[in-house]
Protein backbone atom coordinates (compact mmCIF):
# COMPACT_ATOMS: atom_id res chain seq x y z
CA UNK A 1 0.00 0.00 0.00
CA UNK A 2 2.76 2.41 0.94
CA UNK A 3 4.44 1.66 -2.35
CA UNK A 4 1.33 2.20 -4.41
CA UNK A 5 0.42 5.61 -2.94
CA UNK A 6 3.55 7.47 -4.07
CA UNK A 7 3.22 5.85 -7.48
CA UNK A 8 -0.26 7.35 -7.88
CA UNK A 9 0.48 10.59 -6.11
CA UNK A 10 3.50 11.64 -8.16
CA UNK A 11 1.81 11.37 -11.57
CA UNK A 12 -1.25 13.13 -10.14
CA UNK A 13 0.85 15.99 -8.87
CA UNK A 14 2.70 16.22 -12.16
CA UNK A 15 -0.59 16.26 -14.03
CA UNK A 16 -1.91 18.95 -11.73
CA UNK A 17 1.17 21.07 -12.29
CA UNK A 18 0.84 20.66 -16.04
CA UNK A 19 -2.83 21.61 -15.96
CA UNK A 20 -2.15 24.71 -13.90
CA UNK A 21 0.89 25.79 -15.85
CA UNK A 22 -0.86 25.18 -19.14
CA UNK A 23 -4.12 26.85 -18.15
CA UNK A 24 -5.36 29.02 -20.98
CA UNK A 25 -4.60 32.66 -20.35
CA UNK A 26 -8.00 34.12 -20.73
CA UNK A 27 -9.20 37.64 -20.71
CA UNK A 28 -7.40 40.91 -20.73
CA UNK A 29 -6.64 41.98 -24.25
CA UNK A 30 -7.34 45.62 -24.95
CA UNK A 31 -10.91 45.87 -26.24
CA UNK A 32 -11.83 47.56 -29.49
CA UNK A 33 -12.17 51.28 -28.97
CA UNK A 34 -14.04 54.10 -30.58
CA UNK A 35 -11.16 56.58 -30.32
CA UNK A 36 -7.40 56.29 -29.93
CA UNK A 37 -6.03 56.42 -26.37
CA UNK A 38 -9.50 55.93 -24.97
CA UNK A 39 -9.97 54.59 -21.46
CA UNK A 40 -12.22 51.61 -20.87
CA UNK A 41 -14.55 53.82 -18.84
CA UNK A 42 -14.88 56.38 -21.65
CA UNK A 43 -15.41 53.55 -24.08
CA UNK A 44 -18.41 52.36 -22.10
CA UNK A 45 -19.89 55.85 -22.15
CA UNK A 46 -19.45 56.11 -25.92
CA UNK A 47 -20.95 52.71 -26.58
CA UNK A 48 -23.93 53.44 -24.39
CA UNK A 49 -24.95 56.07 -26.96
CA UNK A 50 -25.44 53.47 -29.66
CA UNK A 51 -25.93 50.15 -27.88
CA UNK A 52 -29.72 50.38 -27.96
CA UNK A 53 -29.71 50.74 -31.73
CA UNK A 54 -27.50 47.76 -32.26
CA UNK A 55 -29.44 45.55 -29.91
CA UNK A 56 -32.74 46.58 -31.51
CA UNK A 57 -32.04 46.28 -35.20
CA UNK A 58 -35.40 47.45 -36.53
CA UNK A 59 -33.89 50.22 -38.62
CA UNK A 60 -31.42 47.86 -40.20
CA UNK A 61 -34.34 45.57 -41.00
CA UNK A 62 -36.22 48.42 -42.67
CA UNK A 63 -33.23 49.04 -44.88
CA UNK A 64 -33.01 45.37 -45.77
CA UNK A 65 -36.65 45.55 -46.86
CA UNK A 66 -35.48 48.07 -49.44
CA UNK A 67 -33.11 45.49 -50.86
CA UNK A 68 -29.94 46.16 -48.91
CA UNK A 69 -27.99 43.31 -47.38
CA UNK A 70 -27.61 43.34 -43.61
CA UNK A 71 -23.99 44.39 -44.01
CA UNK A 72 -24.95 47.24 -46.37
CA UNK A 73 -27.65 48.36 -43.96
CA UNK A 74 -25.19 48.51 -41.08
CA UNK A 75 -22.67 50.34 -43.25
CA UNK A 76 -25.28 53.04 -43.93
CA UNK A 77 -26.25 53.36 -40.28
CA UNK A 78 -22.63 53.44 -39.21
CA UNK A 79 -22.24 56.73 -41.04
CA UNK A 80 -24.95 58.43 -39.01
CA UNK A 81 -24.49 59.89 -35.57
CA UNK A 82 -26.19 58.18 -32.61
CA UNK A 83 -28.58 61.11 -32.38
CA UNK A 84 -29.57 60.72 -36.04
CA UNK A 85 -30.16 57.01 -35.64
CA UNK A 86 -32.28 57.55 -32.55
CA UNK A 87 -34.31 60.14 -34.44
CA UNK A 88 -34.77 57.75 -37.34
CA UNK A 89 -35.99 55.08 -34.94
CA UNK A 90 -38.90 57.32 -34.13
CA UNK A 91 -39.47 58.44 -37.72
CA UNK A 92 -39.14 55.32 -39.80
CA UNK A 93 -41.49 56.75 -42.44
CA UNK A 94 -38.56 58.91 -43.54
CA UNK A 95 -36.66 55.86 -44.71
CA UNK A 96 -38.03 55.51 -48.24
CA UNK A 97 -36.56 55.13 -51.67
CA UNK A 98 -37.79 57.89 -53.95
CA UNK A 99 -37.35 57.98 -57.69
CA UNK A 100 -38.58 54.53 -58.61
CA UNK A 101 -39.93 54.14 -62.11
CA UNK A 102 -43.68 54.02 -62.47
CA UNK A 103 -44.71 50.35 -62.27
CA UNK A 104 -46.03 48.71 -65.44
CA UNK A 105 -49.38 47.91 -63.91
CA UNK A 106 -50.14 51.60 -63.59
CA UNK A 107 -49.54 52.05 -67.31
CA UNK A 108 -51.85 49.15 -68.00
CA UNK A 109 -54.55 50.60 -65.74
CA UNK A 110 -54.22 54.01 -67.34
CA UNK A 111 -54.31 52.55 -70.84
CA UNK A 112 -57.47 50.66 -69.92
CA UNK A 113 -58.98 53.82 -68.46
CA UNK A 114 -58.07 55.77 -71.55
CA UNK A 115 -59.63 53.11 -73.73
CA UNK A 116 -62.84 53.25 -71.75
CA UNK A 117 -62.91 57.04 -71.97
CA UNK A 118 -62.35 57.01 -75.72
CA UNK A 119 -65.09 54.47 -76.20
CA UNK A 120 -67.38 56.51 -73.95
CA UNK A 121 -66.62 59.63 -75.97
CA UNK A 122 -67.14 57.96 -79.32
CA UNK A 123 -70.30 56.01 -78.56
Amino acid sequence: MRAILPRLLIPSLLLTLLVVAGAPLVALQSPSKTEPEQSVADREIELAKIQAVVSQPEIAQILTHHGLSTAEAHQRLAQLSPEEIHTLMTQVDQIQAAGAAVPKYIWILLAALLGVLILTALF
Binding site: V26, T34, P36, Q75, Q94, A97, A121
Partner: protein, 385 residues
Amino acid sequence: MISLPLARIALTCSALLTLSGCITFKPDARQPGAKAQHLEGIPTSESGVVQCAAASLSGVMTFWGHPISTHDLHQELPKAENGGVLSIDVLLAARQRGFDSELVAGDRTMIHESVEIGQPLILMLQIFDAPGKSRDLFHYVIVDGFDPEHDLVRIHFGDGETRWVPLQRISSAWSDTGFATIRVSPGQGPSQDTDAIRYAVALEEAGHLDEAEGIYLHLLDTGRESGLVWLNLGNVRLEQGLTNEAQAAYRRALDLEPNQPDALNNLAWLLLESKADLSQARELALRAVSLGGPDSYLTLETLGRIHRAMGACEEAIKTFETALVTAPSGSTARGWVLYGLALAQQDCGRIEAARANLKQARVESPDRALHKKIDSCPWSKPHPP
Protein backbone atom coordinates in the same frame (compact mmCIF):
# COMPACT_ATOMS: atom_id res chain seq x y z
CA MET B 1 -65.36 75.07 -76.36
CA ILE B 2 -64.22 71.51 -75.66
CA SER B 3 -66.89 68.89 -75.11
CA LEU B 4 -66.97 67.00 -71.85
CA PRO B 5 -65.81 63.64 -73.30
CA LEU B 6 -62.97 65.33 -75.11
CA ALA B 7 -62.04 67.11 -71.94
CA ARG B 8 -61.89 63.76 -70.16
CA ILE B 9 -59.68 62.33 -72.85
CA ALA B 10 -57.47 65.39 -72.69
CA LEU B 11 -57.28 65.06 -68.91
CA THR B 12 -56.29 61.43 -69.05
CA CYS B 13 -53.78 62.04 -71.80
CA SER B 14 -52.38 64.80 -69.66
CA ALA B 15 -52.10 62.39 -66.76
CA LEU B 16 -50.34 59.89 -68.98
CA LEU B 17 -48.00 62.52 -70.30
CA THR B 18 -47.40 63.64 -66.79
CA LEU B 19 -46.46 60.14 -65.83
CA SER B 20 -44.22 59.78 -68.85
CA GLY B 21 -42.56 62.92 -67.63
CA CYS B 22 -42.48 61.10 -64.32
CA ILE B 23 -44.48 63.73 -62.48
CA THR B 24 -47.63 62.35 -61.05
CA PHE B 25 -49.12 65.58 -59.92
CA LYS B 26 -48.49 69.14 -60.75
CA PRO B 27 -50.55 71.43 -58.59
CA ASP B 28 -51.77 74.54 -60.31
CA ALA B 29 -49.38 77.39 -59.99
CA ARG B 30 -50.51 80.34 -57.89
CA GLN B 31 -49.39 83.91 -57.97
CA PRO B 32 -47.22 84.72 -54.95
CA GLY B 33 -47.89 87.83 -52.87
CA ALA B 34 -45.66 90.78 -52.21
CA LYS B 35 -44.09 89.15 -49.15
CA ALA B 36 -43.01 86.03 -51.02
CA GLN B 37 -39.29 85.29 -50.99
CA HIS B 38 -37.39 82.83 -53.09
CA LEU B 39 -33.78 81.86 -53.64
CA GLU B 40 -31.98 82.35 -56.92
CA GLY B 41 -29.40 79.99 -58.30
CA ILE B 42 -31.06 76.60 -58.42
CA PRO B 43 -31.28 75.45 -62.02
CA THR B 44 -34.56 73.94 -63.12
CA SER B 45 -34.36 70.34 -64.18
CA GLU B 46 -36.41 68.07 -66.38
CA SER B 47 -35.09 64.95 -64.79
CA GLY B 48 -38.45 63.57 -63.74
CA VAL B 49 -39.07 61.14 -60.93
CA VAL B 50 -36.49 58.55 -61.88
CA GLN B 51 -33.60 60.94 -61.43
CA CYS B 52 -35.25 63.12 -58.81
CA ALA B 53 -32.72 62.27 -56.09
CA ALA B 54 -29.77 63.19 -58.27
CA ALA B 55 -31.52 66.23 -59.68
CA SER B 56 -32.50 67.57 -56.26
CA LEU B 57 -29.05 67.07 -54.80
CA SER B 58 -27.41 68.46 -57.92
CA GLY B 59 -29.67 71.51 -57.77
CA VAL B 60 -28.85 72.24 -54.16
CA MET B 61 -25.12 71.65 -54.64
CA THR B 62 -25.15 73.94 -57.64
CA PHE B 63 -26.90 76.55 -55.52
CA TRP B 64 -24.01 76.31 -53.04
CA GLY B 65 -21.47 76.80 -55.81
CA HIS B 66 -20.49 73.19 -56.42
CA PRO B 67 -22.19 72.19 -59.66
CA ILE B 68 -22.38 68.50 -60.46
CA SER B 69 -24.31 66.97 -63.30
CA THR B 70 -27.52 65.17 -62.51
CA HIS B 71 -26.50 62.36 -64.82
CA ASP B 72 -23.18 61.74 -63.08
CA LEU B 73 -24.77 61.89 -59.66
CA HIS B 74 -27.53 59.54 -60.74
CA GLN B 75 -24.95 57.01 -61.87
CA GLU B 76 -23.21 57.20 -58.53
CA LEU B 77 -26.15 57.05 -56.14
CA PRO B 78 -26.88 53.54 -54.88
CA LYS B 79 -30.30 52.25 -55.84
CA ALA B 80 -32.75 50.46 -53.62
CA GLU B 81 -34.65 47.37 -54.71
CA ASN B 82 -37.38 49.45 -56.38
CA GLY B 83 -34.82 51.48 -58.33
CA GLY B 84 -35.26 54.56 -56.16
CA VAL B 85 -32.72 56.24 -53.92
CA LEU B 86 -33.03 55.97 -50.16
CA SER B 87 -33.25 59.17 -48.17
CA ILE B 88 -30.23 58.02 -46.16
CA ASP B 89 -28.22 57.65 -49.35
CA VAL B 90 -29.02 61.21 -50.44
CA LEU B 91 -27.85 62.35 -47.03
CA LEU B 92 -24.63 60.36 -47.22
CA ALA B 93 -23.90 61.33 -50.82
CA ALA B 94 -23.93 64.98 -49.77
CA ARG B 95 -21.57 64.26 -46.88
CA GLN B 96 -19.19 62.36 -49.11
CA ARG B 97 -18.85 65.56 -51.12
CA GLY B 98 -17.97 67.59 -48.09
CA PHE B 99 -21.41 69.00 -47.34
CA ASP B 100 -23.22 68.97 -44.05
CA SER B 101 -26.55 67.25 -44.38
CA GLU B 102 -29.34 66.15 -42.13
CA LEU B 103 -32.60 64.31 -42.45
CA VAL B 104 -35.22 65.95 -40.31
CA ALA B 105 -38.98 66.23 -39.94
CA GLY B 106 -39.79 69.56 -41.56
CA ASP B 107 -42.71 71.90 -41.10
CA ARG B 108 -44.01 75.26 -42.25
CA THR B 109 -41.75 77.16 -39.87
CA MET B 110 -38.69 75.33 -41.06
CA ILE B 111 -39.48 76.15 -44.68
CA HIS B 112 -40.08 79.80 -43.82
CA GLU B 113 -36.89 80.14 -41.79
CA SER B 114 -34.79 78.22 -44.30
CA VAL B 115 -35.81 80.49 -47.14
CA GLU B 116 -35.13 83.52 -44.99
CA ILE B 117 -31.59 82.39 -44.24
CA GLY B 118 -30.98 81.31 -47.84
CA GLN B 119 -31.17 77.54 -47.38
CA PRO B 120 -33.03 75.44 -49.95
CA LEU B 121 -34.62 72.21 -48.76
CA ILE B 122 -35.20 68.84 -50.34
CA LEU B 123 -38.57 67.35 -49.46
CA MET B 124 -39.65 63.78 -50.02
CA LEU B 125 -43.26 63.36 -51.06
CA GLN B 126 -45.35 60.28 -51.46
CA ILE B 127 -46.87 60.57 -54.92
CA PHE B 128 -48.59 57.22 -55.21
CA ASP B 129 -50.11 55.34 -52.32
CA ALA B 130 -50.55 51.77 -53.51
CA PRO B 131 -52.18 49.04 -51.42
CA GLY B 132 -49.57 47.76 -49.03
CA LYS B 133 -46.27 49.52 -48.56
CA SER B 134 -43.89 48.11 -51.10
CA ARG B 135 -45.39 49.72 -54.21
CA ASP B 136 -45.75 53.26 -52.96
CA LEU B 137 -43.98 55.84 -55.06
CA PHE B 138 -41.97 58.71 -53.66
CA HIS B 139 -40.46 61.81 -55.20
CA TYR B 140 -37.83 64.34 -54.12
CA VAL B 141 -38.52 68.00 -54.80
CA ILE B 142 -36.64 71.18 -53.98
CA VAL B 143 -38.35 73.96 -52.06
CA ASP B 144 -36.67 77.31 -52.50
CA GLY B 145 -39.34 79.87 -51.80
CA PHE B 146 -42.04 80.77 -49.32
CA ASP B 147 -44.95 83.16 -49.28
CA PRO B 148 -46.06 83.60 -45.65
CA GLU B 149 -49.03 85.69 -46.67
CA HIS B 150 -50.68 83.01 -48.79
CA ASP B 151 -48.89 79.95 -47.39
CA LEU B 152 -47.35 79.16 -50.74
CA VAL B 153 -44.11 77.33 -51.35
CA ARG B 154 -42.01 77.49 -54.49
CA ILE B 155 -41.21 73.99 -55.70
CA HIS B 156 -38.98 72.39 -58.33
CA PHE B 157 -40.94 69.31 -59.30
CA GLY B 158 -38.41 68.18 -61.87
CA ASP B 159 -40.45 69.14 -64.92
CA GLY B 160 -38.32 72.05 -66.00
CA GLU B 161 -40.31 74.68 -64.15
CA THR B 162 -40.73 76.16 -60.73
CA ARG B 163 -44.18 76.89 -59.41
CA TRP B 164 -45.75 78.42 -56.36
CA VAL B 165 -48.24 76.05 -54.79
CA PRO B 166 -50.22 76.06 -51.55
CA LEU B 167 -48.33 74.26 -48.82
CA GLN B 168 -51.57 72.53 -47.95
CA ARG B 169 -51.62 71.01 -51.44
CA ILE B 170 -48.51 68.95 -50.71
CA SER B 171 -48.88 68.52 -46.97
CA SER B 172 -50.60 65.14 -47.21
CA ALA B 173 -47.95 63.74 -49.56
CA TRP B 174 -45.27 65.17 -47.30
CA SER B 175 -46.80 63.86 -44.07
CA ASP B 176 -46.80 60.34 -45.54
CA THR B 177 -43.00 60.45 -45.46
CA GLY B 178 -42.88 61.71 -41.88
CA PHE B 179 -42.28 65.20 -43.36
CA ALA B 180 -38.89 63.93 -44.54
CA THR B 181 -36.72 66.94 -45.25
CA ILE B 182 -33.07 66.94 -46.23
CA ARG B 183 -31.00 70.00 -45.45
CA VAL B 184 -27.72 70.29 -47.33
CA SER B 185 -25.26 73.10 -46.70
CA PRO B 186 -21.55 73.71 -47.14
CA GLY B 187 -19.65 71.74 -44.52
CA GLN B 188 -16.26 71.13 -43.05
CA GLY B 189 -15.28 68.34 -45.43
CA PRO B 190 -15.92 64.61 -45.39
CA SER B 191 -17.42 63.35 -42.18
CA GLN B 192 -15.24 61.92 -39.45
CA ASP B 193 -14.97 58.20 -38.97
CA THR B 194 -15.85 58.35 -35.29
CA ASP B 195 -19.49 57.46 -35.86
CA ALA B 196 -18.64 54.49 -38.06
CA ILE B 197 -16.06 53.12 -35.65
CA ARG B 198 -18.36 53.60 -32.66
CA TYR B 199 -21.13 51.78 -34.48
CA ALA B 200 -18.81 48.93 -35.44
CA VAL B 201 -17.53 48.53 -31.89
CA ALA B 202 -21.12 48.39 -30.66
CA LEU B 203 -21.82 45.66 -33.22
CA GLU B 204 -18.81 43.76 -31.92
CA GLU B 205 -20.07 44.06 -28.37
CA ALA B 206 -23.43 42.70 -29.46
CA GLY B 207 -21.73 39.74 -31.13
CA HIS B 208 -22.36 40.87 -34.73
CA LEU B 209 -18.78 40.22 -35.76
CA ASP B 210 -19.33 39.90 -39.50
CA GLU B 211 -21.17 43.20 -39.68
CA ALA B 212 -18.49 44.93 -37.62
CA GLU B 213 -15.81 43.44 -39.85
CA GLY B 214 -17.70 44.75 -42.89
CA ILE B 215 -17.59 48.29 -41.56
CA TYR B 216 -13.87 48.14 -40.75
CA LEU B 217 -13.11 46.72 -44.18
CA HIS B 218 -15.24 49.43 -45.78
CA LEU B 219 -13.24 52.08 -43.94
CA LEU B 220 -10.01 50.50 -45.14
CA ASP B 221 -11.28 50.14 -48.70
CA THR B 222 -12.26 53.79 -48.80
CA GLY B 223 -8.83 55.01 -47.79
CA ARG B 224 -9.62 55.66 -44.14
CA GLU B 225 -6.92 53.45 -42.75
CA SER B 226 -5.75 54.01 -39.19
CA GLY B 227 -4.11 52.12 -36.38
CA LEU B 228 -7.40 52.11 -34.52
CA VAL B 229 -9.31 50.50 -37.41
CA TRP B 230 -6.65 47.79 -37.72
CA LEU B 231 -6.62 47.21 -33.95
CA ASN B 232 -10.39 46.74 -33.90
CA LEU B 233 -10.31 44.56 -37.00
CA GLY B 234 -7.65 42.44 -35.30
CA ASN B 235 -9.94 42.02 -32.30
CA VAL B 236 -12.80 40.92 -34.55
CA ARG B 237 -10.55 38.43 -36.31
CA LEU B 238 -9.42 37.11 -32.96
CA GLU B 239 -13.03 36.64 -31.88
CA GLN B 240 -13.65 34.82 -35.14
CA GLY B 241 -10.81 32.46 -34.29
CA LEU B 242 -8.59 33.79 -37.10
CA THR B 243 -5.42 34.22 -35.07
CA ASN B 244 -3.04 34.61 -38.00
CA GLU B 245 -5.24 37.30 -39.52
CA ALA B 246 -5.57 38.96 -36.12
CA GLN B 247 -1.81 38.99 -35.73
CA ALA B 248 -1.41 40.51 -39.20
CA ALA B 249 -3.96 43.20 -38.33
CA TYR B 250 -2.17 44.13 -35.09
CA ARG B 251 1.14 44.28 -36.94
CA ARG B 252 -0.40 46.59 -39.54
CA ALA B 253 -1.74 48.79 -36.75
CA LEU B 254 1.78 49.02 -35.38
CA ASP B 255 3.22 49.78 -38.82
CA LEU B 256 0.96 52.81 -38.90
CA GLU B 257 1.26 53.75 -35.23
CA PRO B 258 4.30 52.06 -33.65
CA ASN B 259 3.47 53.39 -30.20
CA GLN B 260 -0.09 52.27 -29.94
CA PRO B 261 -0.29 50.53 -26.52
CA ASP B 262 -3.44 48.57 -27.34
CA ALA B 263 -2.00 46.99 -30.48
CA LEU B 264 1.28 46.27 -28.68
CA ASN B 265 -0.61 44.67 -25.81
CA ASN B 266 -2.88 42.56 -28.00
CA LEU B 267 -0.07 41.34 -30.23
CA ALA B 268 1.93 40.41 -27.13
CA TRP B 269 -1.13 38.67 -25.72
CA LEU B 270 -1.63 36.75 -28.97
CA LEU B 271 2.00 35.65 -29.12
CA LEU B 272 1.73 34.50 -25.52
CA GLU B 273 -1.47 32.61 -26.22
CA SER B 274 0.03 30.85 -29.21
CA LYS B 275 3.31 30.36 -27.32
CA ALA B 276 4.92 31.30 -30.61
CA ASP B 277 7.58 33.73 -29.47
CA LEU B 278 7.61 34.62 -25.78
CA SER B 279 10.68 36.84 -26.11
CA GLN B 280 8.97 38.98 -28.71
CA ALA B 281 5.80 38.94 -26.64
CA ARG B 282 7.74 40.24 -23.63
CA GLU B 283 9.43 42.94 -25.71
CA LEU B 284 6.09 44.13 -27.03
CA ALA B 285 4.45 44.05 -23.61
CA LEU B 286 7.37 45.98 -22.07
CA ARG B 287 6.95 48.65 -24.76
CA ALA B 288 3.23 48.81 -24.08
CA VAL B 289 3.82 49.16 -20.33
CA SER B 290 6.42 51.88 -20.86
CA LEU B 291 3.92 53.90 -22.88
CA GLY B 292 1.44 53.99 -20.03
CA GLY B 293 -2.02 54.89 -21.22
CA PRO B 294 -5.33 55.17 -19.48
CA ASP B 295 -5.67 51.49 -18.54
CA SER B 296 -2.14 50.41 -17.72
CA TYR B 297 -3.38 47.40 -15.73
CA LEU B 298 -4.28 45.72 -19.04
CA THR B 299 -0.73 45.85 -20.38
CA LEU B 300 0.73 45.01 -16.96
CA GLU B 301 -1.51 41.99 -16.70
CA THR B 302 -0.28 40.75 -20.08
CA LEU B 303 3.33 41.32 -19.05
CA GLY B 304 2.73 39.48 -15.78
CA ARG B 305 1.40 36.47 -17.62
CA ILE B 306 4.37 36.52 -19.99
CA HIS B 307 6.80 36.61 -17.06
CA ARG B 308 4.99 33.68 -15.56
CA ALA B 309 5.01 31.73 -18.83
CA MET B 310 8.78 32.32 -18.97
CA GLY B 311 9.21 30.93 -15.48
CA ALA B 312 9.95 34.29 -13.82
CA CYS B 313 7.42 34.02 -11.03
CA GLU B 314 8.90 36.79 -8.87
CA GLU B 315 8.83 39.23 -11.79
CA ALA B 316 5.29 38.13 -12.51
CA ILE B 317 4.20 38.75 -8.91
CA LYS B 318 5.68 42.27 -8.94
CA THR B 319 4.00 43.03 -12.25
CA PHE B 320 0.59 41.78 -11.16
CA GLU B 321 0.88 43.73 -7.92
CA THR B 322 1.62 46.89 -9.91
CA ALA B 323 -1.40 46.15 -12.11
CA LEU B 324 -3.59 45.89 -9.02
CA VAL B 325 -2.82 49.50 -8.13
CA THR B 326 -4.77 50.79 -11.14
CA ALA B 327 -7.22 47.94 -11.81
CA PRO B 328 -10.67 49.29 -10.88
CA SER B 329 -12.02 47.65 -7.76
CA GLY B 330 -15.02 45.42 -8.26
CA SER B 331 -14.23 44.99 -11.95
CA THR B 332 -13.89 41.83 -13.94
CA ALA B 333 -10.41 42.98 -14.92
CA ARG B 334 -9.32 43.19 -11.29
CA GLY B 335 -10.56 39.68 -10.72
CA TRP B 336 -8.37 38.43 -13.56
CA VAL B 337 -5.35 40.34 -12.28
CA LEU B 338 -5.82 38.73 -8.85
CA TYR B 339 -6.13 35.35 -10.51
CA GLY B 340 -2.86 35.91 -12.40
CA LEU B 341 -1.20 37.03 -9.19
CA ALA B 342 -2.42 33.92 -7.39
CA LEU B 343 -1.02 31.65 -10.10
CA ALA B 344 2.34 33.41 -9.96
CA GLN B 345 2.40 33.13 -6.16
CA GLN B 346 1.58 29.45 -6.41
CA ASP B 347 4.46 29.07 -8.89
CA CYS B 348 6.77 30.58 -6.28
CA GLY B 349 5.43 28.27 -3.57
CA ARG B 350 3.45 30.93 -1.68
CA ILE B 351 0.38 28.82 -1.51
CA GLU B 352 -1.45 30.64 1.29
CA ALA B 353 -1.11 34.03 -0.37
CA ALA B 354 -2.21 32.44 -3.64
CA ARG B 355 -5.34 30.98 -2.00
CA ALA B 356 -6.20 34.32 -0.43
CA ASN B 357 -5.94 36.07 -3.79
CA LEU B 358 -8.05 33.45 -5.54
CA LYS B 359 -10.70 33.99 -2.89
CA GLN B 360 -10.45 37.74 -3.37
CA ALA B 361 -10.67 37.34 -7.16
CA ARG B 362 -13.93 35.49 -6.75
CA VAL B 363 -15.28 38.26 -4.54
CA GLU B 364 -14.14 41.06 -6.87
CA SER B 365 -15.43 39.65 -10.12
CA PRO B 366 -18.77 38.14 -11.05
CA ASP B 367 -17.23 36.71 -14.24
CA ARG B 368 -18.33 33.09 -14.50
CA ALA B 369 -15.39 32.16 -16.72
CA LEU B 370 -13.07 33.37 -13.99
CA HIS B 371 -14.97 31.46 -11.31
CA LYS B 372 -14.65 28.33 -13.43
CA LYS B 373 -10.91 28.87 -13.66
CA ILE B 374 -10.65 29.36 -9.93
CA ASP B 375 -12.63 26.21 -9.28
CA SER B 376 -10.32 24.28 -11.56
CA CYS B 377 -7.30 25.14 -9.41
CA PRO B 378 -6.74 22.00 -7.28
CA TRP B 379 -4.89 23.98 -4.62
CA SER B 380 -7.49 26.72 -4.30
CA LYS B 381 -8.71 25.29 -1.00
CA PRO B 382 -6.64 23.67 1.70
CA HIS B 383 -6.96 19.91 1.80
CA PRO B 384 -9.10 18.69 4.68
CA PRO B 385 -7.02 17.30 7.49
